[in-house]
């Protein structure tokens, strides 16, 4: 069984009277891609920056690779890679020089060309940072985080502002890192990203954990009711077996059901017999986004200060 890379117990943090974290606990296994999700102001960046050692906690326990990040131990920093939400590099150095500069800080750096090709900047190797596009700058951020060949990577909203192609590329890079055995701690707004990358998800809202699970099973998503939608042809009447579950939305009918196999059978066998075509027929399950919105909306009210 894999060891624990990150452990957080009853973590608390306030800024003045604002309680940013109200006691959260979770752990991340070695080699896992862990995603911390939540709306703006939920406490994601506060959490990740406490783990990175940039911020002090008010209460609770935190351990990253067995170290307390608040102590700033160099042995921990040597094993951590950090991609901050926003961060600068010297604009007058080239891509290769920048990565090389950071490589020098670590005892066992990853080979320069390997790092640069891993993020797809080989063509831009000798370009100055000023000449890079926004997406390329972000990839340089990731390259710097990889320079020291870290065992834990913190990625704070790594693909914000990417176009869809660049995003897909970044995801492939992160998948590749997982295959190398790295532990990856990700914060994100993007459900697609989490669905694609994460082994496990924790959703926080107003400083509390509101849901936890895999992207596929979060909040009982796999067991949630399916929705069947279609256009009812004029002057036709649904069979009795499904009529009670049906709801009209304009031209469309939707049926929420725990047993979509049976409901679909009833519906389609009736339509085939009556020689009807059901336009726009589709069966959907709640997306991760639906689940997320439902959870964070509910908890925002519950978590509001009394």
């Amino acid at each position: 069984m894999a060891g624990i890379a990150v452990e957080v117990l009853d973590l608390r943090k306030s800024y003045g009277s604002l309680q940013a974290l109200r006691g959260i606990s979770f752990s991340v296994a070695e080699g896992e891609v862990f995603a911390l999700l939540g709306p703006n102001g939920a406490g994601k960046t506060t959490t990740v920056e406490i783990l990175e050692g940039f911020r002090r906690r008010d209460g609770g326990q935190v351990s990253v690779l067995g170290f307390d990040p608040a102590l700033g131990d160099r042995r921990l920093k040597q094993q951590m890679g950090i991609v901050l939400q926003t961060s600068g590099v010297d604009p007058y150095l080239t891509v290769a020089e920048t990565v090389e500069m950071f490589r020098g800080y670590y005892p066992k750096p990853r080979p320069l060309n390997e790092v640069i090709s891993l993020v797809g900047l080989t063509d831009k190797k000798d370009s100055r940072v000023t000449k890079l596009s926004g997406g390329q700058r972000r990839r340089l951020d990731v390259a710097i985080a990889l320079a020291g060949d870290p065992s834990v990577l913190f990625l704070d909203e790594p693909t914000t502002g990417f176009d869809p192609g660049a995003r897909r590329n970044a995801w492939e890079v992160i998948k590749g890192l997982k295959d190398l055995g790295k532990t990856i701690f990700l914060t994100s707004h993007s459900m697609d990203e989490v669905q694609f990358l994460a082994d496990r998800v924790v959703i926080i809202s107003a400083g509390r954990i509101v849901a936890e699970g895999t992207p596929d099973t979060l909040a009982g998503r796999e067991k949630a009711a399916a929705s069947i939608r279609f256009k009812l042809p004029p002057a036709s009447e649904l069979p009795a077996a499904i009529r009670s579950q049906a709801k009209a939305h304009g031209d469309f009918i939707s049926i929420e059901t725990q047993d979509p196999t049976r409901a679909l059978y009833e519906l389609t066998s009736w339509a085939v017999q009556a020689q009807l075509t059901l336009e726009g027929l589709e069966v959907t399950r709640p997306s991760l986004e639906d689940v997320y919105l439902e959870i964070t909306e509910g908890s925002e009210t519950a978590g509001a200060p009394a």
């Binding site: 160099r74 901050l84 600068g88 590099v89 020089e97 020098g104």
Partner: protein
């Protein structure tokens, strides 16, 4: 890699970025020479008899004044502005999250600025000697070198300390120039003060610029003696220690929002 080697390696990267930045190159290297030329044009470069039978060019006094100005530009101004920009861009935060020891980074910054300052002073002196016939220090050279290094280091530390009160990168040139320009005028750097009102004299002596200028000019040319201005150096050192305390206590690695 040892921490010292890490620091020296950092100097190399800092220098690389420095020489590629046209603004920093121009303002640090060309600006002081421009002032030297302007002063010589405005105030002339006559011969003055400074002692029985000893005649020197007036440039012998301009050169160390401009040298003092160069040191302050290369150290105080340059460090305060470039550190604030690095801080607000998030570059410092990233360095802080890496295993590079904090002191290695700061040492590299200060070391680089001091080396640039020494280089500038050498250029100023050579320029003054070749084009304006300034007399270069001989017997007072050790005192001059000591004053130069101490002054450069102190103004670097003060530049680091100043960043604590600079709210953001855009404001940094204003804060830096606002603190240093008035002092340059009342501290024998731009204009030699002749019979200033007493309050102005005292005001100037409260700050480090005056002591640095007096010590540097005094050790550049002296009829006799070592040229060492021990008292001025002590005041400078005290400012340096004060600056270091402020810097250690209040320096910020993260952008100020």
């Amino acid at each position: 890699m040892s921490d010292v080697r890490l620091a020296l390696r950092q100097v190399w990267y800092i220098n690389k970025a420095f020489v590629r930045n046209p603004a920093s190159l121009f303002f640090t290297l060309i600006f002081p020479l421009m002032f030297l030329v302007i002063f010589s044009v405005i105030f002339g470069n006559g011969r003055i008899e400074v002692g029985p039978g000893t005649i020197v060019r007036v440039a012998t006094f301009y050169v160390p004044s401009i040298a003092a100005f160069s040191v302050i530009t290369a150290c105080y101004t340059n460090i305060a502005i470039s550190l604030t920009f690095a801080r607000d861009s998030g570059a410092l935060k990233r360095i802080h999250g890496s295993p590079l020891p904090v002191w290695s980074y700061m040492f590299a910054r200060i070391f680089h600025a001091v080396v640039i300052a020494i280089l500038l002073v050498a250029i100023c002196a050579a320029f003054g000697a070749v084009f304006y016939g300034a007399t270069l220090p001989t017997a007072t050279l050790p005192a001059f070198a000591l004053t130069l290094v101490v002054g450069a280091a102190v103004f670097c530390v003060l530049g680091v300390a100043l960043t604590a009160v600079v709210p953001n990168a855009d404001a940094s040139p204003a804060v830096v120039n606002g603190t240093i320009l008035p002092l340059l005028f009342i501290s024998n750097v731009f204009i030699p003060l002749q019979n200033p009102p007493q309050w102005l004299d005292i005001l100037g002596k409260l700050f480090p610029v005056r002591h640095f200028a007096d010590a540097l000019i005094g050790s550049f040319f002296q009829l006799s003696g070592s040229g060492l201005h021990t008292n001025d150096l002590i005041v400078l050192a005290a400012w340096g220690i004060g600056g270091a305390v402020v810097a250690i206590r209040f320096f910020q690695w993260e952008p100020r929002v």
